[in-house]
Subunit: 529 residues, 2 copies
Amino acid sequence: MDMLWNGWGDPAKAAPLPETVTGLLHDLLGVKPRSTPVLGLEDVRPPAVTAAPAALRALAAAVGDEHVRTDAQSRVRHTRGKSTPDLLRLRAGDVSDVPQAVVLPAGHDEVLDVLRACAAHGLAVVPFGGGTSVVGGLAPQRSAFVALDLRRMNGLLDLDPVSRTAVLQPGLRAPEAEALLAAEGFTLGHFPQSFEWATIGGYAAARSSGQASAGYGRFDEMVLALTLATPEGTIETGRAPRSAAGPDLRQLILGSEGAFGVITSVTVRIRPLPEVRVYEGWRFGSFEEGTAALRRLAQDGPRPTVLRLSDETETFIGLAQPDAIGADLASGGAGCLAIAGYEGTAEDTAYRRERAAAVLADCGGTPAGAEPGERWAHGRYSAPYLRDALLDAGAFAETLETAAFWSRIPDLYTAVRTALTDTLTRAGTPPLVMCHISHVYENGASLYFTVVSAQGEDPVAHWTPAKHAANEAVLAAGGTISHHHGVGTDHRDWYVREAGPLGVSALRAVKRRLDPDGLLNPGVLLPTD
Amino acid sequence: MDMLWNGWGDPAKAAPLPETVTGLLHDLLGVKPRSTPVLGLEDVRPPAVTAAPAALRALAAAVGDEHVRTDAQSRVRHTRGKSTPDLLRLRAGDVSDVPQAVVLPAGHDEVLDVLRACAAHGLAVVPFGGGTSVVGGLAPQRSAFVALDLRRMNGLLDLDPVSRTAVLQPGLRAPEAEALLAAEGFTLGHFPQSFEWATIGGYAAARSSGQASAGYGRFDEMVLALTLATPEGTIETGRAPRSAAGPDLRQLILGSEGAFGVITSVTVRIRPLPEVRVYEGWRFGSFEEGTAALRRLAQDGPRPTVLRLSDETETFIGLAQPDAIGADLASGGAGCLAIAGYEGTAEDTAYRRERAAAVLADCGGTPAGAEPGERWAHGRYSAPYLRDALLDAGAFAETLETAAFWSRIPDLYTAVRTALTDTLTRAGTPPLVMCHISHVYENGASLYFTVVSAQGEDPVAHWTPAKHAANEAVLAAGGTISHHHGVGTDHRDWYVREAGPLGVSALRAVKRRLDPDGLLNPGVLLPTD
């Protein structure tokens, strides 16, 4: 099934907002219904293909005629990713970032052939997995490019139950990967919000982090070996879990966002399927109090598998459990909701749950029972659907995220909230800014912000200054420009400042060596020359 | 205190071998006492300094006259590292790898000044921490070089008890780092065999792994931020524990072995000092059985803080507890000795110890009580002293190590043992080859080999083919060329094969960008042009 072309997910799952929420949007934020004409995919007319017939023939020679698609619908479906600006522009019929063609290789050697064909014909290449980038990672700064769709490379190539490793192809979607592993009794344990559509290659290229990262780690911690196809050949890396043989090339490829090459296989750590999965709610009097509790568990343990905390606003609105948005409004909200989840053997989860409960209570938490945890688990992939409904209702909704060391978290939280609130208020659309911590480490945590406001006249242009102000606030307060969404084109200018001129220059030296013609995702991650 | 110039550690701690061992060496391996004249440091005459006076003046301008040393003893003390070939050549008075001068900068800016001075005068630079490299990491392929000794940069610059982070200077020796942290109630938890002499910068540059890695992780997992001084300027990286902002530059600097720049500060994760430290012994019928037990604890937990297993030979010789070598000979040995250690709070260590004991027993282990654990803890830094005593007694002794995924461990073990045994036996000096697992991961483990034999006529030349055969065996059996010693010059040619031509080429592109004149540790890690 293809994803909704100008929104998120399965079109059958789209649902309008509850009336409580539309009322709130109107009363609190001044959101007015917009009567924009609904554009169908068949109504969108992308600009004509300008690639030379010889280029298309070379691509067809690499992957077979039927795997080079130049029809309008295929091209539009590979236009940009799933950020709110991406969707708003698609909804407005703007497909200026459309690829010339969609090319579907069947394996590593075909990827190399496609790269050679593109080099010979001056076409740029955008590796395309689930298409879920929310940072402009699929919008290169070059007009003539092909989308390299990895969906045919979707196998489980090997599973080693002794080492607990699996070799996965990059186009494998996460639910299918989990199904293939589950058949052997294993799980990857990686469940980001994009889970239902994301791919293994995308996880690796963008350094994804899943909702169970407290227990299973981030994706970059799960990767043991990688194969990268580049215009200059192949890199294979990873012969041991850890090594002292030089810099870690895996960590140079992870997060390279298609700018260094196309990831064609990923060897991951797998774990036995958990016997038990239990998620429960806790309430804290304030975000500060809850943050201290999360920090204590992250530092001293025992570590839950899932650990997250919504701030007062997110708790009040009910976004902590997206399927139940608005449900808490009647109760007037009550402090901050945390979710603690435990997955594993019956014995281990029971031990950790009991000990963690004692810590959470000692930190001022009040148990809120299983219901909030179950609601969260049920709605854990729903937020992007909710965004579509908000956009449909005439609201603007977007998310952004960062991370920092613990001692910087309070200032970072205030700085980003203030930047978003001030900028949008000055622009005449005072926002709701909600936040949660969803990834914890011994030394720090992530902050994930959701912004909802009325739409400006030109909603993308209206949002841009607020996003830039948030980026500035992140850097000024000592955060990283992205904890798990990545750099793409949207964060690039701030990333360059974060990495510093010499750091960026070192990465550009790597790119020039692997991609001397600058074919791969030009302008994504690193500036073009 | 300076380390013994042609051996290991504190000269006062040197001790001859017990008679049981000298007897065994003679009877089993044909080791004969060698009557080589003992060369004193004052007897060694390094070649004259050839660096231009202007170069030395430029260095003095950078760091001050008194911090540029050209006396013979300072230069000899900075000649090579502590591999057995290094020591044998020093003992023979061979100081052909001597630096022109030893330069001691006081901080980051002075390091930059030194690099500029060296660039201006065509001198290569070898960053020098504890001088404990055992892979030729201090022996560049260029005759005119200076040793950049970091001992004056030995401070604790910052400690953040909320984030549990500390900023350490690179020349800080490990025991002093632990003392500074302990004064604030914290520990780094990094205890490699070189602990008493190694430095923080060396840990980072060489991707060190400590004996408590099962509990505290490897050094590269402890590093949160780094500052690197290069001939082209400074890189600062690390604003959060984890980030999706591009490739992880920290992991590009870690393991770069001085070839990309000089690490001038390291921000590390710290942990509260443990309330309890307890180490105990377990016996297994075979290395295979013990390996399976270690794997189960590494994969399913609970994870001890220290977890190691000696093979039958190492157990028989008693090298599992270096302070007690030979003590087990009377008992005839008994299978394989494992050490399991627990550090942490009283409650946590009690829980882990009890559960781990049940797992070890379930895997066939027999408890051997506290005595082997205490002996191991007492002798944990003694093995290099033992090597000196073996060399003094006319034996040859060296170590090498690798790592791989669990399913490859049995073949890797056999392949390396066979390569060493066959090569040295063919050369007329049948060896004892001992092995232990000392670092475990969910997906694999390290193998650490100790070789003892009679010395050949030219002991370095005699050893070289065996070492090369072991390297070939490591690569052929799917291991990494080093788990924690690093690449240096000794492993470089095999590292190049492990990383592959394109991977190496990408790293050389980084080096060229940061060190365009190839001043930094030429020939270490990466081949020179």
